[in-house]
Amino acid sequence: MSFKLPDLPYDFGALEPHIDAKTMEIHHDKHHGGYTTKLNAAVETENISSSNIEEILANVSKYSTDVRNNGGGYYNHNLFWEILNPNGGGNPTGDLGKAIESTFGSYEKFKDEFSKAAASRFGSGWAWLVNENGKLKIGSTANQDSPLMDISDFKGKPIIGLDVWEHAYYLKYQNRRPEYIEAFFNIINWEKANELFKA
């Protein structure tokens, strides 16, 4: 049993001009691919019987730093590719759209708060919109930590995750992380986010 690197659900160039093809190729094949390989090695070394990544992350305190880093990297990127879509963007719809309005006041206010979380994460990490027992929350985690991890001080079920490691944007945006964050809102797959919210 081993974890598989999922194919991207679109071409490398599909998210242009917001995210460039070269970034997508290296990000998926090399970075995500690397986390997948290293996760599988760690799972084997540590005789972890679970084949459910969410379950592994929920118990990550029992395992090594390798599982934490690479399991987080594996799961977080799986989610990231899914919540992006070339035809995404716009305002969130459905139940999630309503929940965002009632929680944050408006989509614009949600966008501001999420952007701040993403811009202010110092070093490498992720910004998140999560569902914690029916309540939406925005926050961030360092490196590849995930809100699903028992050791995380920011917890919940991820609905949207934005990778703010420099590898996610450096070829196109260099030091301008805020421009990358702004571009992200044009390609959010709200349909998928809605599914994750309701699941």
Partner: protein, 191 residues
């Protein structure tokens, strides 16, 4: 008084092809400069307004620490690079390296390994401890060993911005390139 971005002791293209002009333009011209600008904005009206960087590293936290330490770290990093780098240490520094690591080659291997395995953003350091002996340390994000009483003599930036334009995900290749422009004359003087 405000903090200033120190001038580079070489042209932005001088370290090419090991570290490209493009990388230096962003790394020095944007990242290093932004840390200086942000620090100046953050210390205004605080107890750190007239402090030196070492004091900030020892006493501050949050944004003041992050930006202050990043200013110091980048200055220390860029200063030690040169297009006419001395490739190996000699004299007392070489003796100390051999004493701690067995050989210079072993030191390069250990230091490179510390750089390759630092997860996320950060710095790898060669420091002198309170006994005067050498140690390799990894520090996340802006961490600086001065805070814990060590004396840094060498640092390598392994934030992705230090190499992504040149070698992308291949951090080990950047580490090899780093040693081609690291000037051991400067490290000997620091030691």
């Amino acid at each position: 008084m405000s903090f200033e971005l120190p001038k580079l002791p070489y042209a932005n293209d001088a370290l090419a092809p090991h570290i490209s002009e493009n990388t230096i333009n962003f790394h020095y011209g944007k990242h290093h400069k932004t840390y200086v600008d942000k620090l100046n904005g953050l210390v205004k009206g605080t107890e750190f307004e007239n402090a030196d960087l070492e004091t900030i590293i020892k006493k501050a936290d949050g944004g003041v620490f992050n930006n202050g330490a990043q200013v110091w770290n980048h200055t220390f990093y860029f200063e030690a690079l040169s297009p006419k780098a001395k490739a190996k240490p000699e004299g007392k520094l070489l003796e100390a390296v051999e004493k701690t690591f067995g050989s210079f080659d072993q030191f390069i291997e250990d230091f490179s390994n510390a750089g390759a395995t630092l997860f996320g953003s950060g710095w790898v350091w060669l420091v002198k401890n309170s006994d005067g002996a050498l140690e390799i340390m990894q520090g996340a994000n802006a961490e600086n060993p001065i805070k814990d009483g060590y004396t840094p003599i060498l640092t390598m930036d392994v934030w992705e911005h230090a190499y992504y334009l040149d070698t992308q995900n291949a951090r080990p290749k950047y580490i090899e390139n780093f040693f081609k422009v690291l000037d051991w004359r400067i490290i000997e003087n620091r030691f």
